[in-house]
Each structure stands twice: as structure tokens, then as C-alpha cells.
């Protein structure tokens, strides 16, 4: 049996979140008329997930609340900066700067600010910690991002051979610019070949909407994927959903979800982007216990 292992302090899981920080991420997310950029929506929701993971894993330890290190997190941005034509970098700030992998206790102690959020349609304001800032500049060096992810995950797996396999979730809004499709495929296969005793690494890809084109979400068949070469490529490199995630997807209303489905979305809108992110992180961590 694979993909069954619980995430625990002794055998933590690993979530690697790859975030496209290319220039087009400053454009609005989808065509709903909202003026919030894709970069902002991605970072707000990734921050929410990080906060939720820290909170859910805060337990009573010897009469004091303590964040249990049940999950390690890596957040890697890929885009441009002035120094480098193609830049891939860990995006945690402050004391966590330049760290590719952090534990939940480290994350919990080192957020950069608290921000007030008002949920849409509600008057309730909640304070939430933030770690990541929205960035959008330059091209899309996804090939280098996958290569970096492979190095990070290889190093982590040597210390966690019995853990639940690492999950890599890639959010992008456009085509890869630093490698050709065939090389991207190869890099993805090399990443997915990494395994622990509980199975192979899972790579999920979520292409977020610019407002044009039909949405495709958790498809089971290649025929259901838009014919654009890029959509087909991202589908090809995405892993199938393990059964625990199939149950989570069904629980969120995706009643056609099955183990034939790939963890892949194309032209995804905001709501489904949030589902994708949460199923792959908080949902899975809770389901595994």
C-alpha cells in the first residue's frame, strides 16, 4: 500500500510549493472583473494555508501550546530579478531567508506581519500571519525550478526515507521559458522518480486563468485537456491523485474524481485554485492524521 503514511513529528511530510513569479502574474486573475492580481491571490492563499497548517498542528505539549513539526515546507518562487536572467529562489523572508526547507515550528515563529483580512461577503475581519509577498517580474524559468526542487527534495528524502512521499504543487500562469518541452518532461520525470518507502513523489500542476479559455480541472483523460501544447505538456507531467486525495476532491464536490485523475488544472479560476491548493496540503495532512 502506498500513500498511507501519517505525517508525524518523527516522520514529517514535505510540501513544496512552486510559485510562478513572472511578469504576467501582475495581471488580474481570471475574467471576473476583479482587479486583484494573480500574484496577490496566490500569495494570500498560500499564506492562509501556511497559517492553517501551523494552527492545526499547535497541540498541548506538557501543558503548553507548541507547534508540532509534522510537516516541512518549501516555498520556491521562479521569475526574473535584475541580477539573473532566470531566477529561482526560496521566498521566505527575514530569519527564514534563503532557507529552502523550514519546519512548522520555525515557520510559526517567523512570520513577517499580521494582516487583517475581510472574507468576501462577510463583515468579519480576521488577523492572519503572512510570510510570502507577491512578486511578478520577468520570464518563467520553470525548468530551473523543477531542477531546484529535485535537489531540495533529494536532500530531504535522505533524512526521511519512511515518510509520506513529498508533494510538489506548481502554480503557473504561462508557458515555461528556460527549457524546451521535452526537457521539462525529463526534469519532471526525474523529480517524480524520487521516492520514500511510502511511494513516489507527487507532482501537481495548476495553471491559473488569465480569463481566456476553457477550464479543465482534475481530468482523467487526455481528451478532456485543451489541445494547446502547453496544456498537454503540464497534464503529461502531473501525477495521478492518490486515493486519499480522491476522497477529499469528492468531498469538495468534484464527484467525478477518481484515481484515474491527474492532479492538474488548466485555466483554473480562483475558487478552484483554492480547492486545488487546499486539497493538496491542509486536506491531505488532515486526512492522513
Amino acid at each position: 500500500m502506498t500513500y498511507e503514511k501519517s505525517m508525524s513529528s518523527n516522520e514529517p511530510g514535505l510540501f513544496v510549493i512552486l510559485i510562478d513569479q513572472s511578469g504576467s502574474m501582475k495581471e488580474p486573475f481570471g475574467s471576473s472583473g476583479r482587479r486583484v492580481s494573480k500574484a496577490e491571490i496566490v500569495t494570500v492563499n498560500v499564506n492562509r494555508v501556511l497559517a492553517e497548517l501551523c494552527l492545526r498542528n499547535t497541540k498541548d505539549v506538557g501543558g503548553r501550546p507548541a507547534v508540532k513539526p509534522r510537516i516541512d515546507i518549501s516555498a520556491i518562487g521562479y521569475g526574473n530579478d535584475e541580477r539573473d536572467d532566470h531566477a529561482v529562489r526560496p521566498v521566505f523572508p527575514g530569519a527564514l531567508a534563503n532557507k529552502y526547507v523550514v519546519t512548522l515550528p520555525e515557520l510559526a515563529k517567523n512570520f513577517i506581519r499580521l494582516r487583517d483580512y475581510q472574507k468576501e461577503g462577510s463583515r468579519e475581519v480576521t488577523r492572519m500571519p503572512e510570510w510570502i509577498e507577491p512578486v511578478s517580474v520577468g520570464a518563467t524559468p520553470m525548468g530551473t525550478a523543477l531542477k531546484t526542487a529535485r535537489e531540495v527534495v533529494n536532500a530531504w528524502v535522505t533524512r526521511h526515507m519512511t515518510s509520506f512521499p513529498p508533494i510538489v504543487i506548481n502554480f503557473t500562469d504561462g508557458a515555461v521559458t528556460d527549457v524546451k518541452p521535452e526537457e521539462l518532461k525529463l526534469l519532471a520525470e526525474q523529480l517524480k522518480a524520487i521516492s520514500t518507502g511510502d511511494g513516489k513523489l507527487l507532482l501537481f500542476n495548476c495553471h491559473i486563468s488569465s480569463g481566456k479559455g476553457k477550464m479543465c480541472f482534475l481530468p482523467a483523460n487526455k481528451e478532456d485537456v485543451p489541445s494547446e501544447e502547453y496544456a498537454q505538456l503540464l497534464f503529461d507531467i502531473s501525477s495521478n491523485l492518490p486515493s486519499k486525495m480522491v476522497s477529499l476532491a469528492r468531498g469538495r464536490g468534484f464527484t467525478n474524481a477518481s484515481e484515474m485523475c491527474r492532479g492538474f488544472g488548466y485555466n483554473v479560476d480562483v475558487a478552484n485554485f483554492v480547492h486545488f491548493l487546499q486539497i493538496g496540503t491542509i486536506g491531505l495532512a488532515s486526512a492522513l492524521g
Partner: protein, 226 residues
């Protein structure tokens, strides 16, 4: 008898139990919440004092206010711990089972997955509120600090002299129910003369057994001979 999960110390055991006069109760604090054991204790204590913390609005309000007050005071000692303080704001929850003995019967109230077993001649006559080990695992309704439960379970059970009642928290209940033939083998093991002295060893053995393995979670058992 009480034993904590294998990776926790005894003090970290979230189960609470108590016996007073004709009343006995067990409660299991939900580990997702901070201060759940304190809440479980509050429920058990108020029940042993003769109250019904599941059904009496005033009693529930009183004990949950006291719990919140205690947490407010505690929060001041963890000023820099944002997540700790947020966790405390979420309140607490516990599964609860209480019984009150009468002449030839007992009344039970419960919410959650703690169970009683009415045993006669080494066989289960009745387990309540669960009767199948598959019923464990899904998230049960719990007694929370946020408000009195909208409903809870009640039952009256008749017994004969010589019968036994066992009150158990979820891991042990699930384990007992996994045995066939009215859980015969489970009672044979738990009723041995030295079971109480050797409780921790017995639990360790059950947790590493090849068949009928006990889940690694806190374990509590009150055994009453009638």
C-alpha cells in the same frame, strides 16, 4: 486504569476518568484543541457532583465560562506565542460518557466515542453507543466549550448481580469490539487477576500484536463489578 499514547508521557494523556458514589464517567479530550484535558476534567467533575453537563444549559455555561477564564489567565503567560493564543481561542472539545447506578439498572449519557460494555459471564451483552469497530474513525460529535450540545445520547440498562460494566475510551472500545463471539477473548484478557497491576504491559502487548492490534492512542478503562 489509564495508559497514554506511546509517544506521550502519562501527564500528556488526554483521557480523564472518575468515580464517586453511584456515578462513574470517562472523557477523552480532543487533541486538536488546547486545554482539552482540562475541559474533559470539568465535564467529569460536574457529572460526579450530580449534574448533567450535556443537558443542563446552566451547568454547561458555568463550566465553560470557568474554562475560558482559566485560559484567559493562561494566555497572559504566552504573550509572544501568536499561534498558541489563537489555538486557545478555538476552545476545547471532548467525548464524554457518564453512568449512574440504581438498584437493578443504570442510566447512561454520552456524546462521542467513549463506550460502556455490559458484560455477563465473560460475554458482551450490550455495548453502547457503538456496537461495531467500524463505527470508530469518523469524526464523532463532541461536547465543546462553545455551547451546550443540541442533542446527546441517553439509555437505561438493566443488570443482574454478578454482571460487570466497563467504561472505555475510543481506542480500547474499538479494540474490544474487534473480537468475535461477543468479544469473549477481550474480556478473558482484561478480567485476569493481575490485569490491573500489569495494565501498561498488557496495553503495550496489544499495541504490538499481529492480530487484533490496539490503536496507539490514550487508553482508559473503568471496571465495575455489580
Amino acid at each position: 486504569m489509564c495508559a497514554s499514547k506511546s509517544d506521550k508521557s502519562f501527564e500528556e494523556c488526554e483521557d480523564v476518568y472518575g468515580v464517586s458514589g453511584t456515578r462513574a464517567a470517562v472523557a477523552d479530550g480532543a487533541t486538536e484543541y488546547f486545554g482539552a484535558k482540562l475541559w474533559a476534567r470539568a465535564l467529569v467533575s460536574s457529572f460526579l457532583l450530580g449534574y448533567n453537563p450535556l443537558g443542563n444549559v446552566g451547568i454547561h455555561r458555568d463550566i465553560s465560562r470557568r474554562w475560558k477564564k482559566w485560559m484567559e489567565v493562561y494566555s497572559t503567560s504566552i504573550q509572544d506565542d501568536w499561534f498558541g493564543k489563537e489555538k486557545i481561542k478555538q476552545g476545547a472539545a471532548a467525548a464524554f460518557l457518564g453512568i449512574e447506578l440504581h438498584d437493578r439498572s443504570f442510566k447512561a449519557i454520552a456524546l462521542g466515542d467513549c463506550c460502556f460494555f455490559h458484560v455477563s459471564n465473560g460475554e458482551t451483552i450490550r455495548s453502547w453507543p457503538f456496537h461495531d469497530s467500524n463505527q470508530f474513525g469518523s469524526i464523532p460529535s463532541l461536547v465543546t466549550t462553545s455551547g451546550i450540545p443540541s442533542s446527546y445520547l441517553r439509555v437505561t440498562e438493566r443488570f443482574e448481580p454478578g454482571d460487570q460494566i466497563f467504561l472505555c475510551t475510543d481506542a480500547l472500545s474499538k479494540w474490544i469490539l474487534s473480537f468475535p463471539n461477543k468479544n469473549e477473548l477481550a474480556w478473558k484478557t482484561l478480567s485476569k487477576k493481575d490485569a490491573q497491576q500489569n495494565f501498561h504491559k498488557l496495553i503495550d502487548d496489544f499495541r504490538s500484536a499481529d492480530r487484533f492490534r490496539l490503536d496507539d492512542d490514550d487508553v482508559t478503562l473503568i471496571a465495575i463489578s455489580l
